[in-house]
């Protein structure tokens, strides 16, 4: 199966709207229909987002009003303040925890995956094909299938209610990211390494001084993928984190939904959701180009 998914040539995406001379062309009937359809679809897609923002800015009273208002009668900006100052919610701590876990996971995954990907792309070795096949097959390994023994392992190590079970495995590479980076390293010409070799660089130095600096976009893609994945992950943190002091954002948000409040404070929950989504949106906005390149680079095509 490994041979079928892989495509070594990265694609270049050409955006037809950017092609000159295309602008003044009249739209066909089909294109007008598509355009109108897309406007309707986009409105439907964005409506829940608008409703999320609107709920976040409502007072607890207006929140329960029926029929619901779209534009709040009074803008309750204080909700955001409440979120961070409320002792029950401890949103600041949740935020800090998520940053620690996601941050260290990014460092671990990027470094270890790059190392392994470099190994797969540069050397000919006995058993390499088998290793590669094994690596590819773990891409599809469902986490729930391995979570019970992992849980027992970590609980025997005494790592319960710490970030270690979430962070340590990331320092051992992630199959998907290794695959992505390997595709990238394969595209670097071998001649690049020759000058380094003549200078007597060690193998690790070739990796560190030549391969890595040339791989900015690919590494950024891996970092973004990893960040978003760990930032949004629920199941892992649910298993290993038991006290509120250690909760990451998804676990904390899910906990806010239950128990403590008689009616779930949806306005605060929506504030929290907005605050949780913001970093992801910011990262996407600043790195959208790398990201699209990266998706294509994985050879999904």
């Amino acid at each position: 199966m490994s041979d079928t998914v892989i495509d070594k040539t990265p694609n270049i995406i050409i955006d037809p709207t950017k092609v000159k001379g295309d602008r003044k062309r009249r739209m066909t009937v089909g294109e007008i229909v598509a355009f109108v359809l897309l406007i309707l679809l986009t409105c439907t897609m964005l409506f829940p987002v608008i409703f999320m923002i609107s709920t976040a800015l409502k007072t607890s009273k207006e929140m329960l009003q029926f029929p619901p208002t779209i534009i709040p009668e009074t803008f309750a900006w204080d909700n955001f303040k409440t979120l961070f100052t409320n002792d029950e919610i401890k949103f600041g701590i949740l935020y800090k925890n998520s940053i620690i876990v996601a941050g260290l996971s990014v460092v671990g995954t990027v470094f270890s995956s790059a190392l392994v990907a470099y190994g797969f792309s540069r050397y000919r070795a006995k058993g390499k094909k088998i290793m590669f096949m094994l690596m590819i097959s773990t891409m599809m390994l469902p986490y729930p299938a391995v979570m019970i023994p992992q849980f027992i392992l970590f609980s025997n190590l005494g790592w319960m209610n710490t970030f270690l079970p979430l962070i340590v495995p990331t320092f051992l590479g992630s199959a998907y990211q290794i695959f992505l980076l390997r595709q990238f390293f394969m595209s670097l010409p071998n001649e690049l390494y020759d000058s380094g070799k003549i200078d007597g660089c060690s193998e690790f130095r070739l990796f560190w001084k030549i391969a890595l600096p040339l791989s900015g976009p690919a590494l950024a893609t891996v970092a973004i993928f990893t960040f978003i994945w760990t930032w949004n992950d629920l199941l892992g943190p649910v298993l290993y984190l038991s006290s509120q002091e250690k909760f990451t954002l998804p676990v904390g948000l899910a906990a806010m939904m239950s128990s403590k409040f008689r009616i779930a404070p949806y306005n605060l929950l929506m504030c929290a959701s907005i605050m949780t989504t913001l970093p992801v949106v910011a990262i996407f906005a600043s790195a959208q180009k790398h990201f699209t390149e990266g998706i294509v680079l994985t050879g999904i095509k």
Partner: protein, 296 residues
């Protein structure tokens, strides 16, 4: 010198892939084998595991909840996966047309996919609120009295399926990349040969993006076999087990009931199921997937 060169490469290869190799052994291979072992034991994590042979599997095959969780998961998969793939392909094709503001449409459609599963669940639980929710309000404008959604066992699953529509942007982006890789020359050639839109889609576009389609199909099926967040955040598997997804069921057995052996048996069956389904899809894909330059 030449002789040691291959040895040297061997050495560095294994040195560089060492982190992955350790990770593979400790966090993939060992858990798979240990999971199989635990599935033959009675284990509550406090006392040591007790070997009970096939008892867990015997019990599983008489466990109504186990069957229910399979049915729930399959129902969700059979509806949401085809629907999701179909919609994301259609949206990608719309955006791929020569229309203004494509960048805006792409971003807007993708936007919901940046919202985490938990936030998304909270938001939709609120939208589907039977009394104050906006979904039922909008229905009421059309004279329809909305159901109680996640509080009604007949509608909870449909609520979750409607939610998946909101996440099609992620698949759409990948299809879009695939569509943009279809050579314009091929489409022109089809046009010159007198092929209509419909014909050129099935004869040119679809074959060219079929590998993307296969990848998305497999990933979507694997993902929907592992639904957990929605059940954990919104429904707790209810009402009346109507959203008791397979992985949520495993989670409850293992970490609420502390029946780790029993849960390991279920987890192992999940692994086998995913393997079988992937192989079936891969095998049947020979009929519809086209690879440029043939396949090895």
């Amino acid at each position: 010198m030449k002789l040691s060169e291959s040895k040297r490469e061997n050495f560095y290869f294994y040195l560089f892939i060492l982190p992955w190799l350790i990770g593979f052994l400790v966090f993939a291979l060992y858990p798979i084998l240990a999971s199989l072992y635990y599935s033959f034991t009675d284990y509550d994590i406090i006392s040591s595991p007790r070997f009970i042979g096939l008892d867990n599997f015997r019990e599983l095959f008489q466990d109504e909840l186990f069957y229910k969780s399979i049915l729930v998961t399959l129902k969700y998969t059979f509806i949401s996966v085809p629907l999701g793939l179909f919609l994301s392909l259609i949206f990608a094709m719309l955006i791929n047309m020569k229309i203004p503001a494509r960048g805006f449409f792409r971003t807007a459609m993708y936007f919901p996919s940046m919202v985490s599963g938990v936030s998304m669940s909270l938001l939709w639980f609120w939208i589907f609120n039977p009394e104050a929710g906006i979904f039922n309000y909008i229905l009421s404008l059309f004279g329809v009295k909305g159901p109680a959604w996640f509080l009604d066992e007949k509608f909870a699953m449909w609520g979750l399926i409607i939610m998946t529509f909101w996440g099609v942007g992620a698949g759409m982006i990948i299809f879009l990349a695939g569509l943009q890789g279809v050579p314009a020359s091929l489409l022109e050639a089809a046009k010159l040969d007198g092929a209509g839109k419909w014909r050129s889609f099935w004869s040119v576009t679809f074959p060219m993006i079929s590998p993307v389609f296969l990848f998305q199909l497999i990933m979507a099926v694997i993902e929907s076999f592992q639904v957990f967040t929605q059940a954990y955040v919104m429904t707790q598997g209810g009402p009346n087990y109507s959203t008791r997804f397979y992985v949520f069921n495993v989670y409850v057995s293992a970490f609420k009931d502390f029946r780790l052996g029993y849960a390991a048996a279920m987890a192992w069956l999940l692994l086998v199921a995913i393997l079988i389904v992937t192989v079936i899809i891969m095998k049947s894909s020979n009929r519809f997937v086209y690879y440029e330059g043939g396949r090895d």
